[in-house]
């Protein structure tokens, strides 16, 4: 094929695309209410996973003051004397490179009486029931994840002589991390499910559209339109539905966030947390629009392909 011939075919292809593009826009605009309804259904379907995603992302971003949670409390067995405790503290500082604060039973009793309000209850005991306690904190700059470091250290501490039990506040953090991981998984599941819903809604809408325009499709076939030419406007239509749905989802998400931002900030301020509600951002929004368009395109493809297949003439080999 000569270069000129190729260019000519490319240009006529471009003109056909342009025709399909405008004819699909015309179809959208001629049924404004129907378009809006379909887009709204798609938008809400997309909003659910998106809003959960934003929620989980914001939870991930919360400043939970993890270093405080990394402190491990070691309770010594009753009867262990100061000498042994200080030896252990020195050993911990050496081997685990951690900061150790030793709290004697007397100090502990004092703190308890001051802070708990149960001070008088302690007078009932003939002798101080509290054991020696070591508070072990690892420096925040250490390598590895906090879970691994604290996990390894608390295991090591548990094996030392004279140690009764090791309490890891960090467990709570681990549980929270578990919940967040679950949230991530739910986002994934919802994204898959609602993507399917978007494809199904678009496919069904396009199917009805195809049925409504069966006469037009027949005429197009009769005057020599290829399947591609018949398919094209419907694919564009699906794409537009997807993009409009995504746009509505983003707008709804923005409204929800604007509505929730203030009460959330107030709540977290009360916990002494500085917090900024983070949305999807420009690139995230663009990605959502593209994904919506792609899903719409897929739905339209599924629908039109089935229809054209039914319309198609049997192949030359298949003589009935």
């Amino acid at each position: 094929m000569s270069g000129r011939g190729f260019r000519r075919r490319l240009r006529s292809w471009g003109r056909r695309q342009l025709y399909s593009f405008f004819s699909s826009l015309g179809a959208l605009l001629s049924h404004r209410l129907g378009t809006l309804m379909t887009s709204l259904v798609l938008g809400i379907a997309m909003l659910l996973p998106l809003s959960l995603f934003v929620t989980v992302t914001n939870l991930h971003g919360l400043d939970l003051q993890q270093e405080d949670w990394g402190t491990v409390t070691v309770f010594m067995q009753p009867g262990v004397d100061e000498q042994q405790v200080l030896e252990l503290a020195a050993r911990i500082e050496q081997q685990q490179a951690a900061e150790v604060v030793a709290v004697s039973p007397e100090q502990g009793l004092q703190e308890f009486q001051q802070s708990s309000g149960f001070g008088q209850a302690m007078d009932l005991f003939e002798e101080n029931p509290l054991p020696w306690v070591l508070q072990v904190t690892q420096p925040s700059m250490a390598a590895g994840s906090i879970e691994d470091r604290v996990g390894a250290m608390s295991a090591w501490l548990g094996q030392q002589q004279g140690v009764d039990s090791v309490q890891v506040d960090f467990k709570w953090l681990q549980r929270l991390a578990g919940l967040l991981a679950l949230g991530d998984a739910i986002v994934t599941v919802l994204t898959v499910l609602f993507s399917l819903a978007v494809v199904a809604v678009v496919a069904n809408t396009i199917r009805l559209d195809v049925a409504n325009r069966a006469h037009e499709i027949e005429v197009l076939h009769l005057v020599g339109a290829s399947n591609g030419f018949v398919r094209q406007p419907f694919l564009y239509l699906g794409f537009w539905y997807g993009v409009l749905g995504a746009l509505l989802a983003l707008i709804l998400l923005g409204l929800c966030m604007a509505y929730l931002a203030r009460p959330l900030e107030q709540l977290l301020d009360a916990y002494g947390n500085t917090f900024e509600f983070v949305g999807l951002g420009a690139s995230g929004g663009l990605l959502v629009l593209l994904a919506g368009g792609a899903l719409g395109l897929l739905g339209a493809w599924v629908s039109v392909q089935r229809y054209l297949h039914r319309f198609e003439l049997a192949g030359p080999g298949a003589r009935g």
């Binding site: 292809w13 025709y19 037009e216 005429v219 005057v223 020599g224 339109a225 003439l313 192949g315 009935g320």
Partner: protein
């Protein structure tokens, strides 16, 4: 231009629409196809348009054997054939201009060229003044002429018509056939299915007669003229 060799068409369910039909149309011929309804006229036209496939035999149009042509080439085959339908098959939500322009849009032609060709085609059928009208506002005869403009706008070498005068009064039918003859004189091969025997006789062209799916007669123009009306 069009050759049928022992063509049979049997629809699922065993109804034989065509049986062992053979004929040949030269390029530039004008031929009528007649017979009672159900004789197989429409099926024959549908085979030429690749809307159906022959069960047996060969259909050769413009040098291409349609029985061995894959379906994906059907649009190419149809673009070289202008087809006129009894029910016009116009799109009611598009203007007359856009209806006629459809085959050229499909071919991806430049808009200025489309304009020129559509206006020329509308001029030929005498509807240039109606290019902005909507099909439903036109009379039956005018709608039929829009269908003809659409069929000839792509300048196809073959023109097929399925009962084009079906809903028209005799005067309009005569005008229509005169238009077909003009097109034929410009070199287009024309095949018209019609049961309007009186009109066919007056046209004095070759006639193929179908009865119950068989080609029972192939009358030369000279014999038509001699027959009593």
């Amino acid at each position: 231009m069009i050759t049928f060799e022992h063509v049979s068409k049997r629809y699922p369910g065993g109804i034989a629409a065509l049986q062992d039909v053979s004929f040949h149309l030269d390029a530039g011929e004008m031929v009528f196809l007649t017979g009672h309804s159900g004789a197989g006229k429409s099926t024959l036209l549908r085979l030429i348009l690749m809307l159906e496939r022959a069960t047996r035999g060969q259909v050769i149009v413009d040098g291409r054997n349609l029985c061995t042509t894959p379906s994906r080439f059907a649009p190419q085959v149809r673009r070289r054939i202008g087809m006129i339908f009894q029910d016009h098959k116009l799109l009611s939500d598009k203007s007359v201009f856009d209806n006629v322009a459809l085959p050229l849009m499909i071919a991806g032609m430049r808009y200025p060229d489309i304009r020129k060709r559509v206006r020329a085609a509308l001029d030929k059928v005498g509807l240039l003044s109606k290019e902005k009208s909507w099909p439903l506002t036109l009379s039956g005869g005018e709608q039929q002429r829009v269908g003809i403009a659409r069929a000839i706008v792509g300048m196809p070498p073959v023109l097929l018509a399925d009962e084009p005068t079906g809903n028209l009064d005799p005067a309009l039918s005569r005008d229509l056939f005169r238009l077909f003859r003009q097109l034929n004189e410009q070199g287009v091969t024309v095949l018209i299915a019609s049961h309007d025997l009186a009109l066919i006789r007056r046209m004095g062209q070759r006639v193929l007669v179908l009865a119950q799916g068989r080609l029972v007669d192939d009358i030369a123009p000279a014999d038509i003229a001699g027959e009593a009306p």
